[in-house]
Symmetry: C2
Subunit: 488 residues, 2 copies
C-alpha cells in the first residue's frame, strides 16, 4: 500500500496549475480543463480517441467493482466475445443494421480470408446472439445471463469530448435470454433500478427513470428504458439504458429452446449497458471552480495528508503524519511530503484532483494533539483531536457523500418545469432547464419540436400521477407527460 500512495504523488506532473476559467464563464472549457489538469484523460494521437489516465481509470474500476458485485449476486456471469464481427451478422436484424452501420469501422481486406468485411464491434448483440443460438437448447439452459466488459468503437463525426463523445469507449453490456417475455421485461426494469442505485448511491447523481419513445429506442428493441441525469449546463445525460428486445433478435439469430411443453419457442431477450460516459457525468455534476470533486464512495484515495514542514519541527510532524497515514490506511491516504512546494500549492493541487478530505498537520496542531480536517466540497475546516480522527473522517465522508447528492437532487428538481404551450417550452429550454409536458408520442411531433426548439424527448417518466391533457405541439389527447430537453 505504501507504494500505491507514493505513486499518487509521483504522478503529479510538475506543470500542474489551477483552472483558468470558471464553470459559469465557459462550461465546456471548464470541463476540458478539469479532465486535463486532474489527469483523468487525454486526447489520443488518433482523432476522436482518448487515453484514460490512472486517475480516471480508478473511477471506472470503482464503478466496475461495485456493479460487478451487483450483477453476480443476480446470477449474471461475465464472458468475452470477439472484437471483430462479420458484416453479414449486422444485416440479420433490419433496424439494428440501419442503426449501427453508418458508425462502423472495418478491418482492411488484406487481413481477411473471405470477401466479407469485418467490423470492429460497435456493440455485441449480433456476435453474442449467434453464439447463444448454439448454446441454448432447452428451457433448462434458461435464463442465460451474460455480461461483457469491453471496448467499443463507433466512428462518431461530432466533435470529440473526453468521456462523453469519443470513437472508442469502455462499457458493460449485459445480454440475457429468458423463457418468457415477463421475465425478460421484469429483469430489464430491475436492472434499471440497479442503474439508479449505482448512479445515486455511488456516484451521487440523481436520475429520472422512464421509457423512451418509439423514435428514440434502441435499434431492434421493443422497449428501451433509460436513466437520465441533468447536467449544470442545461443538457440531459443518459446514464444507462435497458432494453426489452422481445423475440426480434432471437428470430433473426435463431435462438430457440424446447419449452416445458416440448415445443420449440424463440427466446425472450433483454440487454442493458452503461459506459465510461458515467465519468463525464460525475465530473460535470459535482466539480467546481477549484477543480474535480469526487464523491467519497467512488474515490480511491479518500484523504490527502499535508504535513506543514518547518526546519525545526519537520521530523516530529512527519512522524505524526506517517502515524496518521497508517491509522487511516483503509481510506488509501496520500501523504504529500514534498519539500519543494508550499502547503498552499499542495492544497490547490489536491483540490484540483478532487481528493474528498484534506488533513493538515503542523507544529501548532501537534502541540494541541490535533489536526485540521478540510472537506473538498464545502471547504469547511474542522480541528479534530488526534484520537478522534478516524471517527471524524468517517463522519465527514458520509456527510460529503450525502450532501453532494442532496445538492444535485435539488438542482435536478428545480430543473424540471411543466409547460403547456410551445412558447413556454421554448423559453424553458432556452433557460437551460427541462420541460415536462403532455405529448402525443408520435415521431412527427417529436421531429417538429426538435426542429423548432433543439430539444428532444428524453423519456416518459415512470410513476406519473394519472393526468389527461393535450399534446403540447399538435393538441391531440394525451394521457401522460414526457420529458423534453437538450442532451449530450
Amino acid at each position: 500500500m505504501q507504494g500505491q500512495r507514493k505513486q499518487a504523488i509521483n504522478e503529479k506532473s510538475s506543470q500542474t496549475a489551477g483552472l483558468t476559467v470558471t464553470k459559469e464563464q465557459d462550461f465546456s472549457e471548464w470541463y476540458n480543463q478539469i479532465v486535463e489538469k486532474a489527469e483523468l484523460a487525454d486526447y489520443a494521437p488518433v482523432h476522436g480517441f482518448m487515453t484514460i489516465r490512472p486517475n480516471g481509470y480508478a473511477i471506472w474500476e470503482a464503478i466496475q467493482k461495485n456493479f460487478d458485485e451487483v450483477i453476480k449476486a443476480r446470477g449474471v456471469k461475465n464472458a468475452y466475445f470477439p472484437l471483430l464481427i462479420p458484416e453479414s451478422f449486422f444485416k440479420k436484424e433490419q433496424e439494428h443494421a440501419e442503426g449501427f452501420t453508418p458508425e462502423v469501422a472495418w478491418v482492411e481486406k488484406d487481413r481477411q480470408e473471405t470477401v466479407e468485411r469485418l467490423a470492429i464491434r460497435p456493440t455485441s448483440e449480433t456476435i453474442m446472439y449467434d453464439a447463444y443460438s448454439k448454446w441454448i437448447r432447452s428451457w433448462r439452459d434458461l435464463p442465460l445471463r451474460i455480461n461483457q466488459w469491453c471496448n467499443i468503437v463507433r466512428w462518431e463525426i461530432k466533435m470529440t469530448k473526453l468521456f462523453l463523445r469519443t470513437r472508442e469507449f469502455l462499457w458493460q453490456e449485459g445480454h440475457n435470454v429468458f423463457a418468457t417475455p415477463e421475465e425478460a421485461e421484469k429483469d430489464a426494469l430491475e436492472m434499471l433500478q440497479e442503474y439508479k442505485k449505482l448512479d445515486e448511491e455511488l456516484l451521487a447523481i440523481p436520475v429520472i427513470l422512464g421509457v423512451k419513445t418509439e423514435k428514440e429506442k434502441f435499434p431492434g428493441a421493443v422497449n428501451t428504458y433509460a436513466v437520465e441525469a441533468f447536467m449544470p449546463d442545461g443538457k440531459a445525460l443518459q446514464m444507462g439504458t435497458t432494453h426489452f428486445l422481445g423475440q426480434n433478435f432471437a428470430k433473426a439469430f435463431g435462438i430457440k429452446f424446447l419449452n416445458k411443453k416440448g415445443e420449440f419457442e424463440f427466446g425472450w431477450q433483454n440487454s442493458w449497458g452503461f459506459s465510461t460516459r458515467l465519468i463525464g457525468g460525475l465530473i460535470m455534476t459535482h466539480s467546481d471552480n477549484k477543480g474535480l470533486v469526487i464523491p467519497p464512495k467512488i474515490a480511491f484515495n479518500k484523504i490527502v495528508i499535508v504535513p506543514i514542514l518547518f526546519t525545526d519541527s519537520k521530523e516530529k510532524v512527519l512522524k505524526k503524519a506517517r502515524e496518521l497515514e497508517k491509522a487511516l490506511l483503509e481510506f488509501n491516504p496520500i501523504i504529500d511530503d514534498r519539500e519543494n512546494l508550499s502547503p498552499g500549492f499542495k492544497y490547490g493541487e489536491w483540490e484540483l484532483k478532487g481528493i474528498p478530505l484534506r488533513i493538515e498537520i503542523g507544529p501548532k496542531d501537534l502541540e494541541k494533539e490535533s489536526i485540521m480536517l478540510v472537506r473538498r466540497d464545502t471547504g469547511e475546516k474542522k480541528p479534530v483531536k488526534i484520537p478522534e480522527v478516524k471517527k471524524e473522517v468517517l463522519k465527514s465522508l458520509e456527510e460529503m457523500q450525502s450532501s453532494l447528492f442532496k445538492k444535485a437532487k435539488a438542482f435536478l428538481d428545480s430543473s424540471i418545469v411543466e409547460a403547456s404551450t410551445m412558447a413556454e417550452l421554448k423559453k424553458i429550454i432556452e433557460g437551460k432547464k427541462m420541460v415536462l409536458a403532455h405529448f402525443c408520442e408520435t415521431g412527427e411531433c417529436e421531429d417538429n419540436i426538435k426542429a423548432e426548439t433543439t430539444a428532444g424527448t428524453r423519456c416518459i417518466p415512470f410513476n406519473q400521477k394519472p393526468s389527461s391533457g393535450k399534446c403540447i405541439r399538435c393538441g391531440k389527447p394525451s394521457k401522460r407527460k414526457i420529458l423534453f430537453g437538450k442532451s449530450y
Copy 2:
C-alpha cells in the same frame, strides 16, 4: 449468491457428454474436447478468433483479481490506452517495427481522415510511450508505473488453438519508466518473481525462470526474462515475460526527464505481460481423462453438492443439502438438484467441468449424520460427519492445491535432461523432454539446432551452478547451460 449458483446449473448444456479420447491417445483432441465440453471457450465465426465462455472467463477473472492486488501493492496503476495506433508510431523503433508489422490488422481507409493507416494494437508500447513523453518532465514524475488489461489482435497464420493461439487474446501489459537502469532492471526481475508466484501458488504450475537469447528476446528489448512451464505433450509454454528496455524506446519516443543534477536524461524502461494463454497452460497441466481439473485457489465454484434423491426421503435430503450450501457459502457451492438426471450423470458432468470437491448426500448418509466428500484430482472418497464438513473441505482444498503442484513439479523435474552431444539432444527432444546443455549463445548455432531437431532455446535458467563446458553444437567454450525444447 443464490442466483449465481443457480446459474451455474442452468448453464450446463443438455447435450453434455464425456470426453471421447484420452490424453494419451490424442493430446491435442483431448485438449480441444475439454475446452469445448467444460464450456471454457468456443471458436468464433471469424477464423482465428475465440469466445471466452463464462467458465473460462471466471478463471481469467480470478487471475486478474490476484495479480491486480499484487501490482497495486507495488505502486502500479491501471489505465486504458487507445485500440488504434497510427502506422508511423510502429516505425519509430526499428526492431519493434520489424517484429510486429507482419501480424498487424489495419482499419479500412474510408474510416480515416489522414493518409496514415491505423493498426489494431498488437501490443501497446508505441501508443503508451508517446503519451509518457508528454506526461514525464522531471525525476519527481518517476517511477511512472502503469498497467493495462486489454484485448490484443495479432494476425497469426498458424492453426488456431483456443487460449494458446488465437488472433485476439486478452492480456495485461505493464509499462514503466524509471530514473535509473538499475531500478528498471530490478523491477523487471522482481516482476518475474511475481509471475512465478502467480503460476506456482495460484495456478499450481511449476516454472523455470531465465533470460532469453538475443534471438528470442522481445523486439526492442535489451533483455527479455521469461517464465517457462512444460506441458505433458512435451512442449514448453511461455507463461509470461518481463523486459528491460534500456533507453531504446525512450530515445525513439522522446521520453526525457530532468534528473536531480538538472540535466535532461532519457527514461529507463521495462515492461511485463502475460495473457489468456495461462488458461491453456492450466488446462493442459492438471486435467485428466475425466476432464478439466481446476486448482482450488483459482476455482470460483469450489464445491458441488449432489443430493441423492429418492421419492420418500427427497425433502429431508434436499433440506440438509441446502443447509450445507449455506454453511459453505464462502466456497460458492453449486447445488445440483436436477431431478431428471441420475447422480452418476451429475458426477460425470461436474468432473468434466473441474469442480474441485464433490459432496454426495443421500438418505443413508443422513442417518449417519454424515456426507461423502470426493476429491476431483484423486477421486478419493471420504465420509465426513456433518459438523466437521467445513474443516474437512478446507483441508481437502489445501491438500488438493499442494498435491497438484507437487505432481506437476515432479513431472517438470523429470522432464529436464542434461545432454552433451547433438545425438543425445535429439533423442531427448524426441522423447518429449527438454534438454539442458552448454551452448555458445550465438544465433547461428540456435538456428542450426532448430533446423536439425525442431527444438528452440527456451531460456538460460537462473541460479545455475558455475560450470564450464563446450557448446553442444559448435564446441566453442561455454560458461552456462541453456534450456532447449519444443514450444507452443
